[in-house]
């Protein structure tokens, strides 16, 4: 998980954090006891105030792929 989060840990940190995270995850498991309520339209989420993403590279589309500059040699 630390690798996925892109953080290196010392072995001492790894041990301490494993214990901490277990305790925290046990605490947040409380949420499983919360009632399940149907709000009518499925899961309520925060409203997205951003515009839809647009791809500026779309003019360079080739079938399902986009042409971009080479990054690694």
């Amino acid at each position: 998980m630390a690798r996925l989060a892109r953080v290196s840990l010392t072995s001492e940190e790894e041990k301490a954090l494993t214990e901490d995270l277990e305790a925290i995850l046990t605490y947040v498991d409380e949420l499983k006891k919360a009632p399940v309520i149907d709000f009518g339209q499925g899961r309520p989420v925060l409203k997205n105030v951003w515009r839809e993403d647009e791809n500026a590279e779309s003019s360079k589309a080739e079938g399902e792929h986009y042409k971009v500059k080479k990054i690694l040699g």
Binding site: V7, E13, A23, L25, Y27, I37, R43
Partner: protein, 453 residues
């Protein structure tokens, strides 16, 4: 009358004398006096500046162009802000002087300032104790009279909890009421810039300058007075007694009851209310906050900002930079956030938390049909000792149990000093109002100040 320059000079002298033992300021700005002189010139030419004479301390996660903004982290220790936060622009235009940047828990993650890469701040009421956090440097600076007021940020109580620990006023506005442009992000659906001041009236004056929608922050918005909940002459305050039983100290409970009596004597009606899902607030918070933090902090990759540590390859650079640059609590939350968002766990944790968040919001909405505000103690205990909770993250998180619900729901809340415990440590009364109801908590807060003085 003293000039702004003289006043700034006095504060600079106080900071020089007092800051070494408090570690409230990380840096005092050398250009403060020059700016004060210019404010005096503007005043002399007849300009009206509503905040002339305010000498303000700025939490070090709010950007001021040309100044370091470290967020209390080693990874940003040499990062110089390229632009002003919107709050900074507004305050400066109103004549406020920025005296310096104040200490905080790394990336505003913590309740004591012990997570700062630059050492903890101390509580001016007892140097062996924490000032609270994460805006602990700002709270200590206001309490020790090292500024007239301070800016903070509140994601789960980071303005109100230190305000309570240090015996000052702390305001967390409605989510979106103050632009977050230029605030270093922790958890974007919870973060809000707030204020620490000596009196409610002073906090209100500054709030009126910084409030309002901003083109640079799409989540910012403030309705006109006609569309906001109004402060009335007779108001009803609800108390969720069931939630207080979750672990409040005896002295805090006694002080809270006394505070309610004073409000009653001042003409407020106090009623018992139920918020059935409020008990899930902290668990909900410790999923949503780290999830958002892990995404927000992905930008500190050693390429774009601050610290860079060489690794064997590109992935090695990321691992080494973040491994060395981030402190223990930051790593803990980034890993926790990565976990609750990861494939297979996303539904059980993050999605569940967003549903519970709606339940909690709904509880508040129902209750605000019956009452004008909600009262709670700001914290379950008074300021704790340095080191007391440093090795037990869960115990530290519980210090925010009464402040987190307002962030989860997005409502405004204020902490007002409510006296001291038997050890002489300050306690705070928290008032929560409906969305955009800052006027309500300012009015009750001012009445409460009068009632206890």
């Amino acid at each position: 009358m003293t000039s702004v320059e003289q006043r700034t000079q006095q504060y600079l002298a106080r900071v020089e004398a007092e800051n070494p033992k408090l570690n409230a300021y990380l840096e005092v700005f050398s250009d403060a006096l020059g700016r004060a002189k210019r404010v005096d010139e503007h005043l002399a030419s007849g300009e009206e500046l509503p905040l002339a004479g305010q000498v303000i301390a700025v939490k070090d996660n709010i950007l001021i162009e040309g100044k370091i903004a470290s967020a209390g982290s080693k990874i940003l220790s040499n990062y110089v802000a390229a632009y002003d936060a919107t709050v900074i622009k507004k305050l400066r235009a109103a004549g406020a002087i920025f005296l310096g940047r104040t200490n905080l828990d790394e990336f505003a993650m913590g309740s004591s300032t012990e997570n700062s890469a630059f050492g903890p701040s101390k509580n001016p009421h007892d140097l062996e104790r924490v000032p609270g956090g994460s805006s602990g440097g700002s709270a200590a600076a206001v309490a020790a009279d090292l500024c007239t007021a301070a800016l903070g940020s509140d994601t789960g109580g980071s303005v109100r909890q230190p305000a309570s620990f240090c015996g000052v006023v702390g305001v967390k506005p409605t989510y979106g009421a103050v632009s977050r442009y230029g605030l270093i992000a922790l958890a974007s659906s919870l973060d809000q810039i707030g204020l620490l001041a000596k009196t409610v009236g002073e906090a209100e004056t500054i709030f009126k300058v910084i409030v309002g929608g901003d083109q640079m922050d799409a989540t910012s918005f403030y309705p006109s007075a006609a569309n906001r909940p109004r402060a009335k002459d007779k108001m009803t305050i609800g108390v969720p007694w069931h939630f207080l039983r979750e672990g409040v100290g005896d002295e805090v409970e006694e002080n809270f009851k006394e505070s309610l009596e004073k409000l009653k004597a001042h003409g407020y009606e106090i009623v018992e209310i139920e918020l059935p899902n409020i008990k899930y607030s902290l668990a909900c918070y410790y999923i949503i906050m780290p999830a958002e933090a892990s995404a927000n902090l992905a930008r500190y990759d050693g390429m774009r900002y601050g610290l860079h540590v060489e690794g064997e390859n590109l992935l090695g650079d990321y691992l080494a930079t973040r491994g060395e640059g981030f402190g223990r609590e930051t790593k803990r939350r980034i890993i926790l956030g990565t976990y609750v968002l990861s494939s297979g766990y996303h539904d059980a944790y993050y999605n569940k938390a967003t549903v519970v968040r709606e339940l909690i919001k709904n509880d508040f909405a129902m209750v605000f049909k019956k009452v004008d505000a909600i009262a709670l103690p700001t914290t379950p205990t008074a300021a704790f000792h340095l080191g007391e909770k440093a090795t037990d993250p869960l115990a530290m998180y519980l210090a925010d149990i009464f402040t987190v619900p307002a962030n989860i729901a997005g409502t405004p809340a204020i902490s007002v000093p409510s006296g001291k415990n038997s050890e002489g440590l300050p306690l705070g009364l928290q008032l929560v109002a409906p969305w955009w109801g800052e006027d309500i908590i300012f009015k009750i807060g001012k009445d409460f100040e009068r009632a206890i003085s």
